[in-house]
Symmetry: C2
Subunit: 427 residues, 2 copies
């Protein structure tokens, strides 16, 4: 699809959602109303269930795919259908196609202002895995907590390190975050104390959504891996650094991460991202065969940013600007590695990139790195200082691609932090 | 329910499934047949869907709970219903109650020989967490891989260390296990190699199944934790030790565990285990308040064993005998800790105990410990030696409680190891 394609709907120049994008989501007209599938077009949600009910997007006689509370059924129907629906929608929504353009009654049923509806988690997420694939991030963390001279552990350059996350607490943008509590062990204390988290952080990530499963015991080869990916989202992997530091040896992060993981409501398909393919960093050493692929077009040029807005502040401060293209391990490499021992992935699974940090301090993807674990506090435009996130702060991540006058974006993932639960323990 | 209660069905003396047990499972008459709920009674599966269709076990007018492919709907209906169904079944199946006993037509519809049906995964498992709560196991592993003098890490005695497992690869007893492949780094090698796992191991565990969810951001207190547990299963957390040793820093085990995790088909309820309550070890230091409970009756006296049978061997060798009561952290403590930061658990979630090792070598719950990482090979009755699991080996775990002439058991969780996938890489 060329950047010349135009919709009969007017789309703002800087919109993330031109007719070339058409990311998928789930919406309802009221918070508790009936959920159904949509694509985003400019400021509109285009109701796919309404289109389906009116004779469009009919993938299989007698079957419906879009009057569903999640996208899973549509995604499961297969890659051929993803392309078919995309092509049909681009025709139906184009300026030179009269069928929907000139049918005002149907348009009434199909177009809803995004600002007037509720957006929900777009997929049921049966499994969530988080990787750790930004070399800059892993180096920063290793320098802070282990040894600056040997910041990267030996396995990091050989495989995309990852761990199982908690799928039940994956939530959609806009959901408030309750500050977690738990055990914190101060360096000077003999024993841990029970406390609300004092080092609450964000992690700027993207995630990809599995579109095609594999069977247990049957790994996905790196050649086939891309066909198993439906699309991408923005992802904030909220992290409680003080809980994490105490709990994470030897089995990895647990309560420090399981309290909330936020994704953006619109899934941008790989088809929409195709024009923005780019190379990933040269890998040295060359990976083992099962992870080896041509790195000249296995990444995407996606601009990413993070904003923080204090409670009552007039505006948000941009505190990080980075790019997905810095990722050392590709999504195909992550997926090939995930399944090489036989693990099965499922439609709707979320695979987090790991924090995406760039090479310079203004491109670091977490407050831990930006403030170098509180040693370099941030000063916001309103004069307040931050080392970590305070109650009332809203964190917002944005992402978009831009090339040859075409902008394809992700919208945002945003969340506001509420005070911790009050407990009545007597220690 | 006293141990005097008797069924009109004859139950072998050493059966795991007297009328005092009645564990829940899912079966079908043929492998691809219609799945529905059952309880085990002696050598029989008692079809709860058939009972429900014939006017019994009616929990709510117009609703059915047992003609389902998983137990989730029944479990979700609440603890009051668990007790109600148990009581009704114990009456219906008792020797002095004629309603089912004297209705041979109905009995034909309701009783199926377990050996002639297919048993399935009893619940849909939306989330799986594995703990690490046996002090003896953690000490053994710490001695082998870290420092024998400081085998337990500092956090181990303060909180039930746990990590997120991979729910998609939780499988039912009887499912074959494909030997996993992946990266192995030999101490003498400069780089890792790609290989089939050479140190395939079992981990003897139990698991508990969540019966009642909590909301995100609303922790389950230790006082309420027991009410959130539906029952227990036997659990084999298959482990690839060589993959694990290379991959697990700093984010924990991943491919070493995600290829398969086997559970027994029958869920034994806490009601059935009640007569076997016992104390857990004294905890020193005393845990923080959110983990504190009376330890005099927060564990269960469950005898556990592991057998290995080589391909073609006439019989299995018992290679481990231990007991659940050695567990340092209770299930309530595990659940309170799991949710203290706000994580939500869901009906059907599986919570693994971690490997259950006792104090003596014959009670160690993994080959890693039994053979002390290959330094003390096992000799089987047929003369073969084992350091880790070989292709064709079948591992079987059993568990039962016994007191005052009453035996309540779990049946078994069993799995046979198949050779690794053949890959065609050219390194």
């Amino acid at each position: 699809m060329t950047s010349q394609l135009k919709s009969f709907i007017e789309i703002a120049q800087n919109s993330d959602f031109p007719i070339q994008n058409l990311p998928y989501g789930i919406f309802s007209e009221t918070p508790a109303g009936t959920r159904r599938a949509a694509v985003a077009l400019g400021e509109w949600a285009v109701d796919l269930a309404a289109l389906e009910a009116n004779g469009f997007l009919n993938l299989q006689a007698g079957e419906t795919y879009f009057n569903q509370a999640t996208l899973n059924k549509f995604i499961e129907s297969g890659k051929a259908n993803w392309s078919k629906v995309r092509t049909e929608l681009q025709t139906l929504l184009s300026a030179d196609h009269p069928e929907l353009r000139d049918n005002s009654e149907l348009r009434q049923k199909v177009f809803f202002k995004q600002s007037e509806v509720t957006l929900h988690l777009p997929v049921h997420v049966p499994g969530y895995t988080d990787f750790y694939s930004s070399k800059e991030h892993a180096t920063n963390v290793g320098s802070m907590f282990r040894d600056p001279k040997n910041a990267l552990l030996a396995n990091w350059s050989e495989l995309p390190v990852g761990y199982n996350g908690r799928a039940s607490s994956v939530i959609v943008s806009g959901t408030d975050i309750v500050r977690p509590s738990g055990q914190i062990k101060l360096p000077t204390a003999e024993r841990p104390e029970f406390s609300a988290c004092r080092k609450l952080d964000f992690e700027l990530e993207t995630g990809f959504i599995i579109g095609k499963p594999n069977k247990l015991g049957e790994p996905i080869s790196i050649e086939n891996a891309w066909d198993h990916i439906f699309g991408m989202v923005l992802f904030n992997d909220w992290s409680a650094r003080d809980l994490q530091q105490w709990e994470y040896v030897p089995l990895g992060p647990f309560n420090a991460k399981t309290f909330a993981s936020s994704i953006s409501p619109w899934i941008v398909t790989l088809d929409a991202l195709e024009p923005f393919k780019t190379h990933s960093p040269v890998q040295d050493p060359q990976p083992l065969a099962y992870l080896r692929e041509d790195h000249s077009r296995n990444s995407y040029d996606i601009n990413l940013s993070v904003e923080i807005q204090a409670d009552g502040a007039a505006q948000a401060d941009v505190i990080c600007e980075t790019n997905f293209k810095y990722m050392y391990w590709s999504m195909a490499q992550q997926l090939a590695h995930h399944t090489i021992a036989g693990c099965n992935v499922q439609v709707g699974d979320l695979m987090g990139s790991g924090t995406i940090s760039g090479p310079t301090p203004n491109s670091y993807g977490s407050l831990l790195e930006i403030t170098w674990n509180t040693t370099k506090p941030l000063t916001l435009a309103n004069g307040e200082q931050r080392t970590f996130i305070q109650d009332g702060d809203t964190l917002t991540m944005k992402g978009y691609c831009e090339k040859d006058g075409l902008r394809v974006g992700f919208g945002e993932v945003s969340g506001r932090v509420l005070p911790a639960v009050q407990f009545n323990f007597t220690e």
